[in-house]
Amino acid sequence: MSLGKLLERIIQLVPVLLGVSLIVFVMLALTPGDPVQIMVGEQAITAEQEAELRRDLGLDRPLVERFFLFVANAVQFDFGQSYYHGRPVADVIAERLPATIELSLVALIVALATAIPLGVLAAIRKNSIFDRMATVGSLLGVSLPGFWFGILLIMLFAVHLQILPVSGRIGYASEVLTVTGFLLIDTLLAGDIAAFGEALRYLLLPAITLGLPMTAILMRVTRTSMLEVMRQDYITFAEAKGLPRRRVLYRHALKNALIPTVSVAAIETGSLLGGNMIVETVFGWPGLGRLVVESIFLRNYPLVQAAVLLYAVTYVLLNFIADILYTVLNPRVKL
């Protein structure tokens, strides 16, 4: 990929981010509910104290000025102070982000690791019992309301069988030195296999709940594109040349069939990040999604603004990664 194309991509980011910021800003401004009144709650506060608080939060300025101030600061990676945490929102978000990313990535890996083999098998054994079951299973997967399924999983594995934890990210016996914030990596860096296993145990149910719909979608995509590729001339040709079927399938067909899977996976990962808050709430997962939802209800403007911006950047980035993977998997595609 040329430098020019990369630059073009980055320039494309600008209107998207500006648009997203503007929408968040307008949306929050039009939403009834005054941050100051919510903060103060039932406490006694004089009119002067209230005015002072409003000034401290910068809420006394006109909306347009606040917006430009936000943009000017955001460019320098300054997103302001959280109304509640007594610290910069960037810090608060940074603490919660690894948990969300870790959960999403594991869900993605689980989804890919099950969807691709299942999809390929279903395509190879088209119209077999296995294919039919995989089809129905995948449709079932996209038809389950996530929070309901999550609660059922907790009921079964944590309450009745008591083999998996109800909620949280890791137990408390092991002290994990935070290096990356990703517990799976940090525990391995510390050489603590027991803690690694424990982190996996906590991850299992939320990752399955989050990854299930995606597994279903990816399986369908893999199956369809695999079927399509297998019909292509060069595959038929390769088979006619007498190459072993296995080799044809895995070397030639799969590589090409994965292209749509990858692009769908990238887009779905975006919605995975955005859909996290429900799974995070059900499983008490200390991620960003829960924090953002709480912050919307508390009208913690700076935090919501920064988080939405972050989501938007992630979304654009994921699409970009998908494009790169495209070229890796299929050199004929030029970006």
Binding site: P32, D34, I45, G86, A99, G284
Partner: protein, 512 residues
Amino acid sequence: MKALPRLLMATALAATPALFPAAVAAEDLIVGFTLDADTLDPANHRKRETETIIRNLYDGLLTRDANMLVVPELAESITQISPTEYDFKIRSGVKFHDGSTLTAEDVKFTLDRITVENAMGGQTSPRQGLMGPVASVDVTAPDTVRITLKEPWPILPAMLPNQQIVSKAFVESVGNEGLATQVNGTGPFKLVEWRKGDAIIMERFDDYYGGAADIPPVDKACVDRVIFKIIPESASRVAALLAGEVHIINELPAFSISQVESNDGTQVMTVNGTRSFFIAMNMEGEHFDDVKVRQAAAMAIDKQLIIDKILGGNAAPIDGILSPDAFGASELPKVGYDPEKAKALLAEAGFPDGIDVTMDTEGAFKDTAEAIASMLTNAGIRTTVMVGEGAQLSDKWRTKGAPKSGDMYFTSWGNGSLDPFDIFTPTHKTNDRGNSAGYANPELDAILDAAAVELDVEKRRAMYRDAEMMINADQPYVYLWVPKDIYGVSKRVTGWQPSADSRINLHDACLN
């Protein structure tokens, strides 16, 4: 593709508890708690949950025992010099977690930080209002701090347990932002790690002075470590308790009581709460300006049935704003359940065919509000429940005198100090911040103002009795109940009981 089998195997291993037992060290007392702390800075928060967590790390000048009696903690004694002057003698030899010794200067620094304008890096402490009209804080002797008030404020001692003492040197070295995540307190536990959104891990502070002399045992904490584990979903919190993952949970739903009781090894503990629930009726509106309509609404609701069926019997009915436990509470004339009389009153008020109204409430109270609505509907007050978001509802109803729309508002007001001052005045004084009903009674305003500064305890009590009688007659609100706080507790926990201010003080708790 090779990674796949390995990953699957790792997952399978992880799912096998025998290989990786959910290791809980023998002496970790784990609390399944609804909400994470916003910050660990004792002077920079407004939330009860945050205070509950901080209170195990920091001690205050005064504290409350489980029966809400205010007793000295870091103060050795308290002397009232004049209506506006209080002397606090500071206990000697108290250590901060970093080993330094508590001095009167630390106390002055802490209180200045809270009471002086812009004292926290240009901002004013959100807890300033809880300290009343403080004029100055001075060190008058090496071990004595004097608080001087601008005007008499008799509830100062009752309010002081809300503030915790920080180390001057520590704050100056880490700064205000540092104090949000780092702790150097005098409390029974030291901070080990704060896994944001997940858990706050604390360990016993071995040089602890022992805590309030009036609350035995005076010793360091019993358990090695205490963990507040954040579990916002109530079903998950109960499940974690039943599974033995946590030892104490707060906000146990009433319908889970029997489950927890019948489970081996867990029990239910309750304590009278301090939050009064009521329905505001918009007295500026077209229906509820008439006292007969308001009385009809009150009569239409079978409080006891809701308490029995929905709240599991865990609430005390009220006929005025005050909790039965509050200072100044007294026996009041009861508004009985009488739907027929309610209909008659409605007809007298000019609505023989009944009225159509809406009732606002937050999602958390949807069930109760719907049950009330169907009772009201049966009595001719056809009520539609409208669930709104807290932020929007407080905009709509707590207008401080500005005109309001809406008919009824199912809501509540907290009274953590159990002193009428911080519940009666805000909800009933004309145009005050919590006066959702739009009630205006100059006579009551005068009593409330006088009672706030009355120093004679008996006179003050009588004043609040008069005030309760007035609102009982005027019915600006349908006064409902004060629910108990319900906790689920493992039977392994001893030495702990819930406290009415909903703090979870783990200093004396042990785990067998």
